[in-house]
Symmetry: C2
Subunit: 426 residues, 2 copies
């Protein structure tokens, strides 16, 4: 105990029996006094004495795991609890700098140390070769849908798309403004439940790139291996399985990912691009959509989304501390197997439409044989603090997104709930 206490700042240590502790506290909207604190931020002092006769509040305990939910949202999504705790601890004053990360000049030494460490840790995680640039951008994958053809193509250049879900389809449609894309395979007629055989793909001989969405967030379809482009390079949207497993970056010309599924909050887009692909943007490319500008300025051409990059950095640090992506993949497989197994062994009560070989480790869509029970399922699950299980509005049913940060306990609780629900409704 004593050794722990020596590590506390003076101001948090009881100096004498009547000392007051200043506590950062969580607001609770059901209490007027507390809401008042939250708005006006007057520190509340707690008298810490043996003789305290403070009345015990009727508000239920609200600490840590007890009041956290298991959040199965597809993105923005669950983040590691320890990362959030660390961000919370240093939000007001980052490591003695006297300011929040949100207040730092993006050109100051403090933020430079943050973005440089984030990049270095990401490079270590994915073993990114030296001849690839790592860019921290804004605008989400949807901005990349335009930025990629604007940078890699002239307006008449052919490009191939393998469309295995809604996001690949969106990328294809947006690229039509800036190049001549062709869908060489689409899973649409089979409701996006498959990955094609690569041998059967009829690639365009002059395609500048071959585009895939490595993991379709809505349909739960994931590439387990990658096609080799006949011409040009492979481009992959990895938004929803970024850093969920090891990836051989050298197989790709460009990898992009919105951070808000596996590695951070929304508002950060990460692009990993082979350096020799940079510098050929179309003339009417907005400066913010030119990779060259961002690469030359180490993602600091204009003010980047600093706090988001900082959060990504904390997540990268955490992934490395867990043992890197091989270990992360092992954990993710265990969680996914548990959930798919529960679905497959339910005698058809639950159904996953995706072909087994293409099932995503990240997004698990499923339906109920008795589809009229789905609303009840979602409602009851929420009562058990299993939230955001509703399937995407375009496909219905349920979807459990079980990203890196979803603990095994969350999946175990979901599976237990599913069995219980089935027992009551079968």
């Amino acid at each position: 105990m004593a050794s722990k206490l020596t590590s506390l700042p003076n101001s948090l240590l009881p100096k004498n029996p009547n000392s007051h502790l200043l506590l950062p506290l969580k607001p609770n909207s059901s209490t007027a006094t507390f809401a008042n604190f939250a708005t006006h931020n007057k520190p509340i002092s707690i008298r810490c004495t043996a003789a305290s006769t403070a009345p015990v509040s009727p508000i239920p305990a609200t600490e840590d795991s007890e009041d956290r939910v298991f959040n199965f949202a597809a993105g923005p999504a669950i983040l590691p609890a320890n990362v959030l705790k660390k961000a919370q601890a240093e939000l007001y004053n980052w490591r003695g700098s006297g300011m929040s990360v949100m207040e730092m000049s993006h050109r100051g030494k403090e933020f430079l140390s943050i973005i440089q460490k984030a990049e270095a840790d990401l490079r270590a995680l994915l073993n990114i070769p030296e001849d690839y640039a790592v860019l921290f951008l804004q605008g989400g994958a949807t901005t990349q849908f335009a930025m990629i053809p604007l940078n890699l193509c002239k307006p008449d250049d052919p490009v191939d798309f393998v469309v295995t879900g809604s996001w690949g389809d969106k990328a294809f449609k947006e690229s039509q403004k800036f190049c001549k894309p062709k869908v060489i395979w689409s899973g649409k007629s089979e409701k996006y439940t498959k990955i094609p055989s690569f041998d059967a793909l009829e690639q365009s001989p002059d395609a500048k790139y071959l585009h895939i969405c490595a993991n379709e967030t809505i349909h739960g379809v994931e590439f387990k291996d990658y096609p080799t482009p006949k011409n040009g390079i492979l481009v992959a949207d990895m938004s929803s399985n970024f850093c969920s497993k090891p990836v051989d970056v050298s197989k790709f010309g460009l990898i992009y990912a919105g951070a808000q599924k596996n590695v951070g909050p929304s508002g950060v887009t990460i692009v990993i691009i082979k350096k020799d692909l940079i510098g050929n943007a179309q003339e009417t490319t907005p400066v913010m959509l030119d990779y060259k500008i961002h690469a030359e300025n180490n993602s600091l051409y204009n003010t980047p989304p600093c706090f988001g990059i900082y959060m990504c950095g904390l997540v990268f640090e955490d992934l490395l501390a867990q043992g890197g992506l091989t270990e992360i993949e092992r954990k993710n497989k265990k969680k996914a197997e548990l959930l798919y197994s529960a679905i497959d062994k339910s005698n058809g009560f639950y159904r996953c439409p995706v072909e087994k070989s293409a099932r995503s480790l990240m997004n698990v869509p499923f339906t109920l044989e008795k589809s009229d029970l789905e609303a009840e399922f979602i409602k009851e699950a929420a009562k058990e603090k299993l939230v955001q299980l509703k399937g995407h509005r375009s496909v219905g049913g349920m979807r459990a997104s079980i990203y890196n940060a979803m603990p095994l306990a969350g999946v175990e609780k979901l599976v237990a709930f599913m069995k219980n629900f089935q027992a009551r409704h079968a």
Copy 2:
């Protein structure tokens, strides 16, 4: 005291003389044990008893104002301390939702309540008319430099620019890709120290819009009134004086602002646009650069920068609580007058190059008569916790950015330091 305590969550209340409090704590990098906590997030329990004999740590007190700096950065910039405290308090579990704002689905009811309140509060602050849309976007003002002509012009349309500093010049140059802009007045030959007389402006008769940068962050030049476009509409970059004073929005067709100076962290761009200007984007406009898409989807076409929008919302709430923008302007004037007065009354020791009528309330550039002392000035100021006073790399000298969140005490301390420095070096 009792009334305050009843508002605390049970878990933070001492239940008996030997109860333990779980405290969210701030890491201190100088202490190994504590750094360990920060990384691994093990809650530290403090025994709160009258008989505590815990040794007092040698770490200096690190609470609140004592270890905060006065941050004069131009952006990202200082944020209100109470807003940061509130964000910190609810970072791990937002108002009983069981999740951080960073983890929330952007389509869930929790985040919808956040973005809707942020918009409503901003509308109240600026008295934004009903026929204007408010959009929360990404990419900073630099993205707007392209987005505006892409949405308001055909490629051959003329546009007028009044260029009063570097940012207006950047906006002009980027627009050349998408329309036919013309600089009808530039302060460049006078090193951007003036605002022109509006009567003397020779506007193009067919200009689709007249563009100004309402406050030039680098040069400290601010419009106090606004020119009336002969044709078309007035478009203003208000990044660095947004919400610093009341503005008659109806005089403008479009106002845009990066949030990271006055109203939030970087990564959020706010656009206020007259609705009848929406819907005419050029054919090759990326979908993410089309105002129509964002307006039709209430800024939720793709995943927005949720946490940044939340932070802006907290700032808007705080500005309203302070009495709105009339009161904010009064405070800003007082701070600016104090600083400009100190410069003007220094007998030339300090100099502000900007013409008095055009001086910014937000960014105060100044030089030393003895320019070789400038590095020393900046270094000594930093020791006094007056940081980020170095002028922009393109102009040198010093710059004090005194946005809404800079307390009067910060300017008072800077002025006292300046007088002291002068006394020692005059």
